[in-house]
Amino acid sequence: MTITVYIPGDSSSLSLGADRVAISIAAEAALRGAHIEIIRNGSRGLYWLEPMIEVSTPNGRVAYGPVTASDVHSLFESNFLYGNDHHLRLGLTEEIPYLKNQERLTFARVGITDPISLQSYIEHDGYRGLKRALGMNGASIVKEVTDSGLRGRGGAAFPTGIKWNTVLNTPSEQKYVVCNADEGDSGTYSDRMIMEGDPFVLIEGMTIAGIAVGATQGYIYLRSEYPHALQVLNEAIAIATANNYLGRNILGSGKSFHLEVRRGAGAYVCGEETSLMESIEGKRGLVRFKPPLPAIQGLFGKPTIVNNVISLASVPIILDKGGEFYRNYGMDRSRGTLPIQLAGNIKHGGLVEKAFGMTLRELLYDYGGGSASGRPIRAVQVGGPLGAYMPESQFDTPLDYEAFSNIWAVLGHGGVVAFDDTVDMARMARYGMEFCAIESCGKCTPCRIGTTRGMEVIDRIIARKDHAASVQLLRDLCDTMLNGSLCALGGMAPYPVLSALNHFPEDFGLQQTQQAA
């Protein structure tokens, strides 16, 4: 009998030696005459346990981890192929509390299926959304997405259905669907996990978007830092095209949709949608003025849907199970689930997909297990390099777009980076400005000049030169950048800076009581 062994092939698992484990297991199995089939699945997202391998047993999949190549001999000695005991045995995968307590809708298949097997995708409810969409008119598809309450998961949280509706109602011979896969925020990797672990769900979501609004061409704008995702996406697109899930006359419906991956080139600002479109057009990634909205005049001047990977990958389940099903998750105006990514100094880093509403504290301690260093968590940055630093007193904030914006923080793309008490928040604020200075596209003055001046003034604060005046100058500068920048890069650079200054004034040489300034 052939036993199936799952060894993750996503780039994070590879970075921890998953390939060496796979080679060792194949060699040891051959030596022992054991019949095994190795499937390189995506990661389940329990990264502190990676490489986490699984074997299929009659009772379900049994996990072992973290496995190194040197553990392979003892795993075979313990008969792990039959799920037997071993010091790395984690039990039934589905029963691991970290995973069991999640609500995986967008990530339903990630880590379970073979990412580039169309058959495996279809067996696990794939392409049900597209098949339903092919029987509906554009307006009904858009209504389903609107009813789901889905908001843009890239960070801006704009209602996806409303954006689609604008494109639907803008007449044009040519329209486009663009997937923003320029996942540049530190602490985020959910887009990468989808693209490497379940690429067909993104392809299906984009196809549904194209059919809904009458777009026949799609582009995935993928950052150059993700070479593994590029390979998986291109393979999956070729398979989908060969099987008539992409291309002309999809599944005999008379509808067409073509898809191509375009590589970015290391510019963070190209995650901003107008800069991204400039880049696809072959230009410097300079931000455009809005209006016109991309939904009306987008890529090559045509009506364009620009959505993040997670937004588009959430569309198939919404079309399959209905907007109402998705809407039943979440709280207030934040509907559905959010794939949160735990990163930085955290014991149990990984992906947690849950309905909106859990508190940051539950996330950091119940899932994250506290800091990796064992020291107290002093600050977390949520929402990438343009997100606010939050102190312990804000850890009871529920994960909800409005709850975060009420305390001048952002949920963004759901990245949560933890820092222990050795962090110097003035240095982090300085880095925030430095990063934006490196990445500014240079089109507007507040961002182009402000980020460099911001760096300099924080240096003076750190050196205690003209201290009080420098702090005031930093606040004034941040005010100019907040209100005068063309896009979110300059417009949100003050978030990490001012939140660090307000919540951790002692790191800037200020008394706690001075923070109201």
Binding site: E183, G184, R262, K283, G344, G415
Partner: protein, 157 residues
């Protein structure tokens, strides 16, 4: 690849890709994938073929951090400088790597073996600090580990 091969690579890349809408970035990627950087004398050829000015082509190459205008070392080492990796000691790791290689960021070792580059997020944030050597990702990298990786890359030369 030897010097005399450049022109063919550039011409092939243009011939193969110029029909695409927004062909410039795909062409630049193709050239860099093959040669390792964008040679200065490719700029007028690309400009001519795409009906752009040389300034426009140069402007695009210089805008994007990823595109190189000088040949890289045999191995490109990228160390993540972003927040998640900072929270796990990437500043110390970076200082160590610079000292070990004897070069700063954007420089190549005199023997031509290694280029050192900063990178802002490799999407491996649950396994910080993260490093990429050529196209191979490495997670939870310590100073000892980066020494091993450098030694292994050297031996593989």
């Amino acid at each position: 690849m030897k010097q005399h091969g450049y022109n063919e690579v550039v011409r092939d890349a243009i011939a193969q890709l110029k029909g695409k809408p927004g062909a410039l970035l795909p062409i630049l990627h193709e050239i860099q994938d093959t040669i390792g950087y964008i040679p200065a004398d490719a700029v007028p050829v690309i400009a001519d073929e795409l009906n752009l000015s040389r300034a426009e082509v140069h402007g695009v190459i210089s805008f994007y951090h990823y595109f190189r205008q000088t040949p890289p070392g045999k191995h490109a080492i990228q160390i993540c400088q972003a927040e998640s990796c900072k929270a796990m000691g990437s500043d110390q790791l970076t200082a160590h790597a610079k000292k070990r290689l004897g070069i700063d960021f954007h420089e190549t070792t005199p023997d031509g073996n290694f280029s050192l580059e900063p990178v802002y997020c490799l999407g491996n944030c649950a396994c910080s600090p993260a490093v990429m050597i050529d196209d191979e990702p490495h997670g939870r990298v310590t100073s000892e580990r980066i020494n091993q990786l450098i030694d292994m890359a050297k031996r593989g030369n």
